[in-house]
């Protein structure tokens, strides 16, 4: 049982490492947010499950923390992306930009 929990924790740590690498290597803000969000979400899940297996008293607590992370992490990244779209320069290599109609043009002063 202990070995299984350590395997989960190592997987979680590896995903955190990948997330950090992604934030370093991706070329623009939005891709960095993507890499960071996904890798840290699954990394946190795996770590918490590993901790829950190692110490069964904490299993329910770690599931509760997983629920909170699953709700909060994507919302945070959406807020970051929206703020970045409003305030930063957009990357040059965009293929398509439907968000322009929402905010970004000069005609839209309400945002």
């Amino acid at each position: 049982m202990e070995i299984v929990s350590y395997i989960f924790m190592i997987i979680g740590g590896l995903f955190y490492l990948l997330g950090g690498l992604g934030v370093l290597r991706m070329p623009d803000t939005f891709d960095r947010i993507q890499a960071g969000t996904k890798a840290t979400t699954l990394g946190a899940f795996a770590l918490l499950i590993g901790i829950g297996i190692a110490n069964p008293d904490w299993l329910l607590k770690s599931f509760l923390i997983i629920i909170f992370i699953a709700l909060a992490n994507p919302i945070g990244s959406s807020a970051l992306a929206k703020a970045a779209y409003k305030s930063c320069e957009l990357p040059k290599n965009l293929v398509q930009d439907d968000l322009k109609e929402l905010f970004g043009g000069e005609d839209n002063g309400s945002n």
Binding site: P27, D31, T41, S78, L102
Partner: protein
Amino acid sequence: MKYVATFLVLFTSYVLLAGFHVQELMLGALVSVILTIILAKLVNYTIDYRFPVKLLVFIFAYLPIFTWQLILSNIDVARRVLSPKIPLNPGFVKIKTDLKGDFAKLTLANSITLTPGTLSVDVKGEYLYVHTVDVKGKTPEENREFISAKFEKVLGGIFK
């Protein structure tokens, strides 16, 4: 009904954090009642008699898809991060959703964020605005096929 829903959420969180002891259950119930009285007017969700069924469908139909997509998306991130030249074709696309209700849209937007190569940026009315690493379609309908169709089917059955 709103009061019952708020109380259940608060009490469940308390018990999961504190553990199943008689003292903890009593104190948790007391604290939850007080917080319910204070908080209920800020809450805009409710539950009805179909809630347990919906919860079961959510756990057994939606969570496996979600978990699988989350693992796929992490493999996708790993592939992109570790390849020497990062393959990118990014863009912001707009997709239409049939889901009504705030919580349904929140769940859909969160699911989209955690699936491979997509990040939901904003929700306006019945449109979701999504940043994707690899733009595949041109119109909202085509993009919907690639991004959200697999979730909409399941979530549509849960949130009506």
